[in-house]
């Protein structure tokens, strides 16, 4: 046992593939479950939210246009990178949520497995929820799911890592880009996730992570005209209602908060389909020749 002094990490936001401090220059104190100081986290402002939306919008074309296979590869790469830093996350989750090492490890393992699960979904969801429609006429008609666009994600407050992964991965698996508001009291695993995403071939701006006061950051996101959808998982009832009202201004798709007892349970496809549009394209078919049905 040496009495070497630890090198502490300065936790920063993750926006547009970079690690800025909050534009506000403010931080807030993050403690463990027992109140012990862990770190100072950036206290994001409205402007940070705005910058994150700009970054997410900029990344949307490339990410939504990438092949589903490519997105799957990258999401799987995220899992690989997480696996390598498993111990770090176990420690961060244990501290954040006041869990024993083994309980925290269960959470982290489940989170890594969840990335793998969603990595496999990228090139299957279109076949599951899209398809051909047998219209009554000389047309070929195909419905396919497409990403909604920029999604604001309020990460769950309690489950700082598994909950976070469970709401972020489905959003980006299908080609959306995300502005994520980390758990207010336990933002560190989320901020650390940014470091993994930055080294996983995920293009900058696809996921942007903000820490701070959920209500303060969420309000401009819910009202932002260039945000297409919002996941209210991390909002309480009062905030959720306020945000849903604000979201109506540009008719954001709103995923209302739903009680989740157990984030380890296998999720269905709901969190993906909540942020998918169905696009239906009609093409004339017609006969091979000008001779009508004779051919």
């Amino acid at each position: 046992m040496s009495d070497r002094l630890n090198v502490l990490k300065t936790y920063k936001l993750y926006v547009g593939g970079k690690f800025p401090r909050s534009e506000s220059g403010r931080v807030y104190e993050v403690t463990d479950a027992k109140g012990k100081w862990l770190a100072n986290a950036p206290l994001s402002s409205r402007k940070d939210a705005r910058d994150a939306v700009v970054a997410a919008r900029k990344a949307f074309g490339g990410w939504s246009g990438a092949t589903a296979y490519n997105r799957g590869q990258i999401l799987y790469r995220v899992a690989e990178m997480l696996e390598g830093r498993r111990d770090q996350y176990v420690r961060e989750v244990a501290e954040a949520e006041g869990l024993s090492k083994s309980k925290a490890a269960e959470q982290v393992d489940a989170a890594i497995d969840r990335w793998v699960w969603y990595a496999g979904w990228t090139d299957k969801i279109a076949q599951v929820v899209g398809g051909g429609n047998p219209v009554a006429g000389p047309f070929f008609n195909l419905s396919s799911p497409e990403p909604t666009g920029v999604v604001a994600v309020l990460a769950p407050q309690e489950s700082s890592f598994l909950g976070l992964v469970s709401v972020v991965a489905p959003v980006i698996a299908t080609g959306n880009t995300a502005v994520v508001v980390a758990s207010e009291k336990s933002p560190l695993p989320a901020l650390s996730l940014g470091e993994v995403l930055a080294t996983s071939d995920l293009p900058g701006g696809v996921v942007n992570i903000l820490s701070g006061r959920t209500a303060e950051i969420a309000a401009p996101l819910a009202a932002h005209q260039d945000v297409n959808a919002i996941d209210l998982a991390g909002a309480d009832e009062v905030l959720a209602k306020e945000l849903e009202i604000a979201a109506a201004d540009n008719l954001k798709r709103v995923l209302r908060p739903q009680p989740v007892d157990n984030w380890t349970a296998t999720p269905g496809t709901d969190r993906m389909t909540a942020f998918l549009e169905t696009k239906t394209v009609w093409h004339p078919t017609g006969s091979l020749g000008a001779s009508g049905s004779a051919y």
């Binding site: 599951v128 929820v129 398809g131 429609n133 047998p134 219209v135 009554a136 006429g137 047309f139 008609n141 419905s143 909604t148 666009g149 005209q225 297409n228 009832e237 959720a240 209602k241 849903e244 009202i245 979201a247 109506a248 201004d249 540009n250 008719l251 798709r253 709103v254 209302r256 269905g268 709901d270 549009e277 169905t278 696009k279 239906t280 394209v281 009609w282 093409h283 004339p284």
Partner: protein, 478 residues
């Protein structure tokens, strides 16, 4: 042969439909007066003739209807799907049997040409009930898990542009999935929904499963806000859609919204020009342009602009405007004085902002609400007529040089409901369709609808899909 080929009047007989002088609200299987006894008149937009008086529902009536629907829900949702299916098949068949009557009725109350109600609205209405009838006992296989449950009471508010078709889009999936319904038709087109109530009677549909409340926006608002409504479905303007989204915020009500649009119809230089012209005409003059997915912005490649506009103008000169009951009428009446005023105002604004206005020579009838087919050229993205939904027979023509520019301009709107692509190059169709942010895209065709085909918008055109397997989700607790 000297004289021109004048088509003699060929009116569809209106004697096939028997409109009563007054109608009540259809609640719990009975026609009843409004709580305060108030009524309003519905007129024929092509003549301003009063067709009937209908009851004006109050908040108390809304409550009564929701209670009736709630009461009916228990048994209706517990019926085997195969039994619900048979009710819906019956309804579909009765609609087919009465389709001429309903087409004439719809034309009278709405003002659209009989050609459209006969060949588009009514066949689609019957097909929609047929389609969803078949789903009622197959929900286990719809991809929403085993034994998906209905939501409960659906509060549905529909517009005046396709009164009976929008009713079908709302009621058929709701009933197939085991929900019960309170539906409010638009204030200016209440009659076909009331006739539908009679079809429910003929079909022996249990009381309270379908309730029809006539009235204005206040009745609609009360229905949507009613605490015992589990599902809200609305088709109408984006402004009202936003209001509804605010109303239901913080509740557990499931919502689907089909709202406005400013669809781009993109014509490339290698388009099948004659068919493109037909598609443009169909895109903006079908139902007098009072269509949420209308192709109200024509984006034409600069290199074929002159040729296309010449063809388009020549074609518009052949449109026949007049008596909606005449089988040869292409352009009928605008639905209401209010809508006519809105179209007139926006068209005047287009002129004031410097766009060039053109209409074919065309005589408008003296009575009723009429607006000549109108083209605006020299329009840019900055013009109001290129941005605001006009909901009338007004086409704004813009140009582009490259596919990238076409896509950028097409997507440059808060709406995202429909778009059209005209080109003979298959790969370009797929590439452009891929980039367009719109829920329904027609390549080398326009304004096609089918019950199996999901319909609905991106962005401010609303959310949720109607039609097809996708349309079931809106009415299931999934």
């Amino acid at each position: 042969m000297a004289p021109v080929f004048d088509y003699a009047p060929a009116p569809e007989s209106r004697s096939i439909v028997d409109i009563a002088s007054s109608y009540g609200l259809f609640i719990d299987g009975e026609f009843t007066e409004a709580a305060d006894g108030k009524v309003f008149k519905t007129v024929s937009p092509s003549t301003e003739e009063v067709l009937a008086e209908v009851a004006e529902a109050t908040e108390e009536d809304v409550d009564r209807a929701v209670k009736a629907a709630r009461k009916a829900f228990e048994k209706w949702s517990a019926l085997p799907g195969s039994e619900r299916a048979k009710y819906l098949f019956r309804i579909a068949r009765i609609i087919q049997e009465r389709s001429r009557e309903l087409a004439v009725l719809e034309t009278l109350d709405n003002g659209k040409p009989i050609k459209e109600t006969r060949d588009a609205d009514l066949p689609l209405v019957a097909a929609h009930f047929f389609y969803y009838a078949g789903w009622a006992d197959k929900l286990d296989h719809a991809g929403y898990g085993a034994n998906p449950k209905p939501l409960g009471v659906a509060g549905q508010v529909i517009p005046w542009n396709f009164p009976l078709l929008m009713l079908a889009w709302k009621i058929a999936p709701a009933l197939a999935t085991g929900n019960t319904v309170v539906l409010k038709p638009a204030e200016t087109t209440p009659l076909s929904a009331l006739f539908f109530a009679d079809i429910c009677r003929q079909a022996g549909l249990p009381k309270g499963v379908v309730n029809i409340l006539t009235g204005d926006g206040r009745a609609g608002a009360a229905l949507i806000a009613h605490p015992d409504v589990n599902k809200v479905a609305f088709t109408g303007s984006t402004a009202v859609g936003k209001e509804i989204a605010r109303t239901v915020a913080g509740t557990r009500k499931k919502v689907t919204l089909e709202l406005g649009g400013k669809g781009a119809n993109i014509v490339f230089d290698d388009a099948p020009i004659d068919q493109a012209v037909e598609g443009i005409v169909n895109g903006i003059f079908f139902n007098q342009g009072q269509v949420c997915c209308a192709g109200s912005r024509l984006l034409v490649q600069e290199s074929v602009q002159d040729e296309l506009l010449d063809s388009l103008k020549r074609r518009l000169s052949t449109l026949r405007l007049g008596d909606p009951l005449d089988k040869n009428t292409d352009i009928g009446a605008i639905n209401s004085a209010e809508q006519l005023a809105r179209i007139t105002k926006l068209a005047d604004l287009g002129e004031a902002e410097g766009a060039e206005r053109w209409s074919p020579a065309c005589e408008l009838p003296e009575n009723g609400y009429w607006f000549a087919p109108t083209l605006f050229t020299n329009v840019t993205q900055a013009h109001t007529v290129a941005r605001d939904e006009i909901f009338g027979p007004v086409l704004s023509v813009l140009t582009f040089r490259t596919p990238d520019e076409a896509v950028a301009k097409a997507n440059n709107t808060p709406y995202g409901l429909s778009a059209g692509i005209w080109t003979e190059k298959g790969s370009r169709i797929l590439a452009v369709a891929n980039k367009l942010r719109a829920g329904v895209i027609w390549s080398n065709t326009f304004n096609k609808f089918d019950p199996t085909s999901p319909f609905g918008g991106y962005k401010e055109s609303g959310f949720g899909r109607e039609g097809g397997r996708h349309g079931l989700e809106a009415y299931l607790d999934v």
